[in-house]
Symmetry: C2
Subunit: 100 residues, 2 copies
């Protein structure tokens, strides 16, 4: 199993706007090969920002990589460059393979 | 749902030793109220270290907090101070509530 996380630092006060973006988003994930599940998750609020992450699980890293090269991925990320005012810095990607 | 992650920076070359620690560890988690699942997960290797995380899921943040105050938690973490030579810096805890 593989876990793909994208970490987002959301400027304080914009948390609701950020959550709304995800609520209204069409991910096109459900029919993607190897896709298991998705959650938007929220950690704590630091001095300048609140930490969020997208958290998706996949049968394998290969399935995830195939998705990132697909038309479904491009469709899901169109318009991702807008709403820059919500973010402190760029999202940070981290992928994890399950060891145990 | 709540996701508790502890991030570990493991000095290059000690990855197998670190994974072995987790294989041999008795977590006493299975009978803990609200516990859903546990994985040890491995991300990529940076210049000086490999990023790992423990990843556990819980019905609620309250269940997780109760566990950290329990005897089961103390038992699972006894000896956690040994093997310091594996780590670059201290583990970093991050907890996440599922928003969506």
């Amino acid at each position: 199993m593989y876990i793909a996380m994208n970490r987002f630092q959301i400027i304080k006060g914009y948390e609701d706007d950020f959550e709304q973006l995800w609520k209204n988003r069409e991910s096109y994930l459900d029919e993607v090969e190897g896709f298991l599940g998705f959650n938007l998750i929220k950690s704590k609020t630091y001095k300048d920002y609140t930490l969020y992450a997208s958290h998706s699980t996949w049968k394998s890293e290969e399935d995830f990589i195939s998705w990132t090269k697909s038309g479904a991925f491009r469709k899901a990320h169109q318009g991702a460059g807008t709403n820059k005012h919500l973010y402190l810095g760029s999202p940070q990607f981290e992928g994890f393979n399950v060891v145990q």
